[in-house]
């Protein structure tokens, strides 16, 4: 049985990172590196959501909770406490993990549609707190004053080139970690729970506990995506916690292919490209996006899950 080995994957990841780091010499424009940085934030975010939707069968509508939480926690920590960037990231991830544990403990035991809606409700709760707590969060204007970027380990994130390389490194590392997770026994337990939770119980697995673990892991990576976006815009905006961010992430996953690990990455890049292109011509981006999504949803009537599964099976059949 051919199994991707840890060593092989590490080499692939390093190669990918090297390639990404090299690209700005070929495409020196600012819009290119901006695109890659934004895409890396969303790639991490969407891939983390796919851990839940694609691999665990847990359809969360409220994953944006962690994106927004990550962005605001990081930005506020940097603004108010003068902490170093690595420390701020560390604390942000810790906070995200705690919130994910609390929210997950409530949501994870619920049946499908209740789980979906309750996660969304919690996200909107965060959103409403962000909007209302103007003293701390700046309300609907977002955080003003910028996010300070003190140098650490010789890395100066106020230099766009450093920022580019840093974000690429974080993205590649995050995706590598999530891939490893998915290829570990834990990942296969998630697949078993997705396919047949009752049977998993009858293998002695405490299904809700494993689901909670998945929820927390996904939440932490979602928060990391929020950190990246906050660095990019040097602020934090309520939009990062608005429900549309979750909807877009779902679309990214379906666009790229739910059964494919790098699908969300592709979907993120595609959607951002669409966004950039459309907003050049019209301010009615929502309308265009809505039509695109509708056409896509009706066209993939079988459900991309079926489509993705078939491709996956074909691959597995050939490969096994």
């Amino acid at each position: 049985m051919r199994r991707p080995s840890l060593a092989r994957d590490a080499i692939v990841a390093l190669a990918l990172f090297a390639l990404l780091a090299f690209l700005p010499t070929v495409f020196p424009s600012k819009s290119f590196s901006d695109f890659v940085v934004r895409a890396s934030a969303f790639a991490i975010f969407a891939t983390s959501l796919n851990l839940l939707i694609g691999y665990s069968g847990m359809v969360s509508f409220g994953h944006g909770l962690f994106f927004g939480l990550g962005a605001y926690s990081f930005a506020l920590l940097m603004q108010k406490t003068g902490s170093s960037i690595p420390a701020a990231i560390g604390i942000t991830l810790l906070v995200t993990a705690l919130v994910a544990t609390a929210v997950g403990a409530i949501c994870v035991r619920l049946k499908e549609i209740y789980f979906s809606f309750l996660t969304l409700a919690f996200q909107m709760l965060l959103y409403s707190v962000i909007i209302a707590w103007t003293d701390v969060t700046g309300g609907d204007q977002g955080l003003t004053g910028g996010v300070p970027r003190p140098a650490f380990l010789g890395i100066r994130l106020d230099d766009p080139h450093h920022l580019y390389v840093f974000c690429c490194a974080i993205m590649v590392a995050s995706l590598f970690l999530m891939w490893h997770l998915v290829q570990s026994p834990f990942g296969y337990t998630l697949r078993m729970i997705r396919d047949n939770p009752r049977r998993a119980e009858f293998l002695g697995i405490a299904v809700w506990r494993v689901r909670l673990m998945a929820f927390v892991v996904a939440g932490v990576f979602g928060g990391l995506g929020g950190v990246i976006i906050s660095l990019f815009v040097s602020s934090a905006y309520p939009d990062f916690a608005y429900w549309t961010i979750s909807g877009e992430a779902v679309f990214m996953i379906l666009l790229g292919g739910i059964g494919v690990f790098l699908g969300p990455l592709a979907g993120a890049a595609l959607l951002l490209a669409l966004n950039d292109t459309v907003t050049k011509f019209t301010e009615h981006y929502s309308l265009v996006l809505g039509i695109v999504i509708l056409v896509f949803a009706l066209g993939m009537r079988k459900g991309l899950l079926g489509f993705g599964m078939e491709r996956w099976r074909a691959r597995a059949g050939r490969g096994g």
């Binding site: 359809v59 409700a121 709760l125 779902v250 809505g290 039509i291 993939m300 991309l304």
Partner: protein
């Protein structure tokens, strides 16, 4: 957190009356929306994720008809029927195509419509907040109860909703059509095998659910302002209401909606920053104690 303000209010009869009526009104509007959502879910087993947009359409339709004709009655009836027709078309043309698919596909279809409608509303009516103001018929002086204010319009709202709720109840339980709807909810294959046109039933139920949402929007317009995207928060609230009351239960929706309305009304005094949080705390508590909702059946 401002507990002092809350206690002061609770000590004052006029404050209690004003807040209670305000809360009841929120609750009633929420009930109409939630009832529609619950009806669609109960029969079609589909969550109409864009239900809030129907509420928004109802508000804008009513506003347009009223400003054009000066008749609020026409506005209410017209917008309710208009949204019902829209709902019917949406179900027949789009939703029905994804019934068999993954719930993610259904979500995407609804999501796409939220996006499309939000922008459409911006394009047609503009992106600013709009207010209709109180229709001439209700511009009389408010009724004063124990020092608290009770606008005449509120009485109309309450009366209208009770009428609609009663009509809905009778429709579902007493008429042949209601029986068919309930049968189709329980066993669609059998119902269709009995020669009943289930597609008509599905379209009809969706239209009815949409009508309720649109009606709520039309009734809300004199007392709420309108803006693109206003549908979403009411979607979340109506979902919370159905969770608390129990999916598929109309009585549950009523109780849940009134409770939420009151929690919001009094909560906004005591916890101005965390009013939403109160609702969630309440819902979480209900979910822990009775996961299928106060009136819900174990689905």
């Amino acid at each position: 957190m401002d507990i002092q303000a809350l206690l002061t209010c609770l000590a004052s009869a006029s404050c209690i009356v004003t807040q209670t009526t305000g809360g009841l009104i929120s609750g009633i509007l929420l009930f109409l929306v939630a009832a529609g959502l619950s009806l669609i879910f109960g029969t079609l087993k589909v969550t109409n994720f864009m239900h809030g947009s129907l509420y928004m359409l109802g508000a804008y339709f009513a506003y347009t008809i009223y400003t054009a004709t000066g008749s609020y009655a026409l506005a209410v009836v017209g917008s309710a029927l208009g949204v019902a027709a829209f709902g019917w078309a949406f179900e027949r043309l789009f939703m029905s195509r994804v019934y068999g698919s993954d719930v993610l596909m259904q979500l995407l279809v609804c999501y796409s419509f939220i996006l499309i409608l939000d922008d459409a509303v911006k394009i047609i009516w503009g992106a600013e907040f709009r207010s209709m103001g109180m229709p001439a018929a209700f511009q009389g002086p408010p009724i004063v109860v124990a020092g608290g204010v009770l606008p005449v319009f509120y009485l109309f709202l309450i009366g209208m909703t009770l009428l609609v709720a009663a009509a809905l109840g009778l429709l579902i339980t007493r008429t042949r059509m209601g029986k068919i709807v309930r049968a189709a909810a329980v066993n669609p294959t059998m119902t269709s095998a009995l020669g009943i046109n289930t597609t008509l039933v599905y379209g009809g139920v969706f239209a009815l659910g949409s009508l309720l949402a649109g009606l709520a929007g039309a009734l809300a317009v004199p007392v709420r302002s309108m803006v693109s995207g206003m549908g979403f928060s009411i979607l979340i609230e109506s979902f919370i209401v159905t969770v608390i009351g129990g999916m598929g239960s109309v009585a549950g929706a009523m109780v849940g909606a009134l409770l939420i309305g009151l929690v919001r009304s009094f909560g906004s005094i005591g916890f101005p920053l965390f009013t939403e949080g109160l609702m969630f705390a309440f819902m979480t508590a209900v979910l822990i104690v009775k996961p299928s909702g106060l009136f819900g059946r174990e689905a």
